[in-house]
């Protein structure tokens, strides 16, 4: 049985290719069939009435296999579209979009993220400028931002976080012109997001929405549980999922460190968004059969590999994935979407500047 809405289908996936998958402790037999009668209810109808089941009993019902929400596939599709848009722009004699990225310090993770963004700019025909400081004062950094704000050839400004302790992220973000704030962290953009107005959406939550859109997942009326209330992911994604948009219109519960009985709340969810920064935090018993699981975690965990570490998400993927209808891998999931979203914001800013 399909766990949710009839629209929850991979666009490229033929209806006939239905395979068995784990459902709690029960393995369901593999069988090919078409299931056009899936009810479009917002509940995960694991106990459908007999008539909806077409006269078959529950034990005879069949499952879709788990589908990976592949950030590589979705971000590639978005970047190809962006690349074409830039070509059209340039063919009309306009300059390409230009992203200015600022990196302070030598944090290896930050260096990796910024260089990924710069590389993605190159791949899609965007211009990028990387401003690197070994160290810098808050005043000098603000001065640089003011300069970039005034520079009419710059469309987007991003300051890679976290910043060193002596610099207030809040002051830095507030200094960015909201119309160039392609990371969507400025209070004006946060406010417009909250109010459902046009804004630059923060890149990670926007990336998640783009992923849902790419896989044509209709989340209307579904119960989404967001784990983590950070300003960068948890809070904004909880708003975007519940706004009156498409995708959107989910019923959202935002959970956090003070939440009681998190496991029970998660186990009721049709959709789980894990953004808590704890490797393997979401265990199989916290996930309902057929749920959609979005893993935002990017955690570095020591291992015996030559690198000495591996990147893992906030979800115990190995045990959770077989229970889900859709799940994002880490790496290769939300992280790549974040960059695609950033580029989309930068192109939008470029087009608004013509």
């Amino acid at each position: 049985m399909h766990p949710g809405d009839a629209n929850y289908k991979h666009p490229d996936r033929p209806q006939e290719k239905i395979t068995g998958r784990a459902s709690g402790n029960n393995r369901i037999k593999q069988k090919s069939t078409t299931n056009s009668q899936f009810p479009s209810s917002s509940k995960a109808n694991y106990l459908l009435p007999f008539d909806i089941l077409g006269g078959r009993s529950h034990s005879e019902w069949y499952f879709y296999s788990m589908i990976i929400l592949d950030g590589r596939v979705a971000s590639k599709a978005i970047k190809e579209k962006l690349s074409n848009d830039v070509k059209v722009l340039v063919s009309k004699g306009e300059r390409p979009p230009h992203l200015a990225a600022i990196l302070v310090g030598k944090d290896p993770a930050s260096e990796f993220y910024v260089s990924s963004k710069v590389k993605s700019c190159e791949e899609t025909g965007f211009k990028s400028t990387l401003v690197k400081y070994e160290d810098v004062s808050e005043d000098d950094l603000i001065e640089k931002i003011v300069e970039l704000n005034k520079d009419e050839t710059v469309d987007g400004i991003l300051v890679q976080l976290p910043l060193p302790r002596h610099i207030s992220s809040k002051n830095i973000i507030s200094a960015i012109d909201p119309e160039k704030d392609v990371d969507g962290f400025h209070p004006v953009n946060a406010g417009n997001l909250m109010l459902g107005n046009e804004s630059y959406l923060p890149a990670t939550p926007y990336g998640i929405m783009l992923l849902l859109e790419h896989y044509k997942l209709d989340i209307k009326g579904k119960h989404a549980v967001v784990i983590g209330r950070s300003n960068i992911v948890g809070r904004p994604i909880s708003i975007l999922l519940s706004n009156n948009t498409h995708p959107g219109n989910a019923t959202v519960t935002l959970t956090h460190s003070q939440t009681a009985d998190l496991g029970k709340i998660c186990a009721d969810a049709d959709i789980i968004v894990a953004a808590i920064g704890k490797p393997g935090f979401v265990k199989a018993h916290m996930v309902k059969d057929g749920a959609i699981v979005i893993d935002v975690g990017i955690n570095r965990v020591d291992d015996d590999s030559p690198k000495g570490y591996k990147i893992t998400g906030d979800v115990d993927y190995e045990n959770v994935a077989p229970k889900t209808s859709y799940i994002t891998p880490v790496p290769g999931g939300v992280g790549l979407m974040t960059i695609a979203a950033l580029l989309k914001n930068t192109l939008k800013s470029r087009l608004l500047r013509i």
Copy 2:
């Protein structure tokens, strides 16, 4: 048994005065006792383990009576404090806070709200200016707002909503200086609310938080269900309840017109905030025994009274109230807190201007 946390006590209410009240279909016997062993769990522990019950069985356990969260009492206390603060300010040779209210058109409800606000200003020693238009163009209204923005003797500007159709509320609100936006509707204030920064909180959600504070209700870890996702109440209160503040730190589910199984979600809630604008929408079966119910609705319902109507909330008060631990009446609840919150914002703006 007390439905929630040991801290959930009216500050002025002696512990000994415990009276029976309705619990679902069962009436619990009245008995005086002190209950220092109430568990500080965030779940509504209606089925406590036997040992926590001190050896008594569930049927021997006792209930607090329902307590009215009285907006008259709480707003009076806040206004008395504001009044004193203004006296101190004036005694130092400073001018009192000054609220400028703008009313467009002749909607009786809007006229009533604005005149209540002006009257409250008078009562607390605030200066107020009422700018009334029978009709006005958007441009002329914006011009007036710009004038008030520049006027250094004005601390707060509020435009009574709704506005006539030919005027864009969004444009009008955006025209108000965020530092004088004591209604807290400007995107900058919305964004700072969302980000947990200092801001002018929108008056109704802020009023609800002040009411929780007045009655010293600790909502940390409780499950709050907000009904309605408006920018004026539902969305911001869902954020305030879940922010890492005190009161705050609740686990919040925001529900709306697309929510499936609303009754079931509400019936699990420790706290319900009804802000949907439908008279008597929240029925007894949707409310858990011992829940806290905040009724934001102000609905005009026709009746046989000389006035021809009565004001009712979004909650079926008569049937719901006996099940709750705390409930706001309508009128006399959240509405009065809204005005107190507005005055608090205006005083804050005045103090920041010195």
